[in-house]
Every structure is written in C-alpha cells, then in structure tokens.
Amino acid sequence: MKLVPAALAILLAGSLTALAHDVPTEVAKSPPPGAFKAVSSLVKLPDFLPGMGQLFVDPASLPGGPFLAYDHDGALVSTIYMLPVKDLNPDKRFEDLAAPGGNVDHVDVYYNAGHPGVEEPHVHVVLWHVAAADEAKVAQ
C-alpha cells in the first residue's frame, strides 16, 4: 500500500518544516518588540557583528541577556547569553534567563575578551535556532 508511506512522508515533512520554523512570531523578524533595543544604538559597536549578526537586547537584562541575533534578512538565528567569567563562582547564579527564541538546533559556548556593553571577559552561550550549516548567514 503506497498511500501509507506517502501519508507518513507528508506528515513527517510537515512536522520537520514546523520544527525548523518554530520561532515565536513576535521575535521571528527584527526588530523584536517591547524593551529590546539594537545593541549598536546602546553602545558603540558595529551594527552587524561577524559571527553573531545584528544584536538586540533589553538593557535591563544586561549583562546576561538574552541577546537576540538576526541575519542580514532580519530572520532570528540565535539567542545569546553573555556571562562574565568573574560571576561564574559559588556565590553567583544566573537563573530564569528568558528564552524567547523557540526551538534550539544546537549550542555553542566560547570565551570572549569583552566589548562595549559587557566590558570584561565573559562567556558567550549561543542557542542556535538554525542548523550549523546556516551559521554562515551571519559569518560576514
């Protein structure tokens, strides 16, 4: 019976499509609403950061974030948290950080020496909402 595999394929394709694009509508496109501001409007940084994209953040959430990162077409690619190295100690916790970006495909964690806005060595925790191959959309 060929109908069953065909129906399954359609169902799976529909589910995968839904997973791949399951980004909450309000943050799917830049600029995100509410208290989010372009980072480049808050501090002197390039508007588009190679490797990350165009960043938005609610200033009240600094330094941790979340920062929402968008590609050149204004589509959400990642949610980034910036955690100062000195705050990763027994006396400090980062709890209940907002995660408005929807499904996560994979996660990167790496050290950053600092930049305006988070002017101390910190760790970037990047929740990618796109496949690893699509990180290229914000590479340059």
Binding site: V43, P46, N112, A113, H115, H124
Partner: protein
C-alpha cells in the same frame, strides 16, 4: 621546529610590517598601531604592543578588528581616575570608541614611557607601551591614592622598556 609555508609567510609579513614601521619611525612619519582581534572575540591586542618613537612623532591607532570596538586610552588621573603611567608633563589622551576602520592620532612631545589601554579590554590584557626618546628610567606616579589600580592581566601585558628601545618595535607572540 617545523615551519609550515603559511608560518613562514606570516613571519615574513610580520618582519616586513615591522621594517616599514621602523622606517616610518626613523623618518618621523606617523606610525600605525593596529587594534586587532580574533573573529570570535576571544583574543584582542594592539599591534605592535611596544613602540619606540622620537619626540614630536605622531602615532595613529587604527581599528582593524571587524567585529569589535576599541579605544587607546592613556593611564592618567584625568581620564577615568586611573593611576598615571605617562610622563608628568605629558598630556593624557583618550580616543573614545573606534569602530572598524576608524582612526585616532596623537603626537608625543615629552620624552618618557607612555602606557595605555583599551577601555573594554583592559581586563583581557589589551594594553600597549610607547617609549619616546631615550628616558633614563620608568617614571612611577606617586599620586596613586584613590585611583583605580591596574588589573593583573594589564600589569603583565607591558613589554620591558629596554626591549622596546633595543628592538624599536615589539609585537605580540
């Protein structure tokens, strides 16, 4: 030690850049100090980190880091209440944030040792030292009370004055 072709080319490029900078310094022309960083922001530095110039020479800082902003800021009580690490008679300077490809220039008239830093990256050790002329020794400021001291990564970042004078230019390893 095995040197790859890329390593040889990089080393050759570094030597050539140092040679050009030394020529500029010898001719009294502005010398560029590049502000650099890795693409992921994990490392940032001034290139060169140590520079020997003549009195009256101009130094230009240029942000060559596409993904970050940098400053060239002298250690001085008048700027962010920092301990003075430039000659007592010298004017302090602060470039403010430079976006990629922006530049800032400053003329060094007083002989002596000048230490400076990048405001957002001082804690990552992004500092530099310029030696003007042939000072007899490193001047240490007395008025340190109430001023913000240097973090350890910055203190460990300065090349020795003797090395800068001997080589003319000191680059990051």
């Amino acid at each position: 030690m095995i040197l790859t072709r890329r390593r040889v080319l990089e080393a050759g490029g570094g030597i050539f850049a140092a040679f050009l900078a030394e020529l500029a310094a010898a001719a009294g022309e502005p010398v560029e100090i590049a502000m650099k960083g890795k693409a992921d922001g994990s490392h940032v530095w001034f290139d060169p980190i140590g520079l020997h110039v003549k009195p009256g020479q101009t130094v230009q800082w240029a942000n060559r880091d596409r993904g970050n902003s940098h400053t060239a800021t002298s250690y001085h009580p008048e700027i962010f209440e920092r301990v003075r690490r430039i000659p007592a008679k010298a004017k302090p300077w602060n470039s403010d944030y430079l976006l990629p490809d922006e530049t800032f220039s400053f003329r060094f008239d007083e002989e002596g040792v000048y230490d400076y830093y990048c405001v957002p990256h001082e804690h990552a050790g992004m500092v530099g030292r310029i030696v003007v002329g042939n000072p007899s020794g490193t001047e240490v400021a007395a008025e340190a009370t109430g001023l913000t001291p240097l973090p350890t990564p910055a203190l460990n970042g300065f090349p020795p004055v003797e090395e800068i004078v001997a080589k003319g230019i000191v680059r990051r390893e």
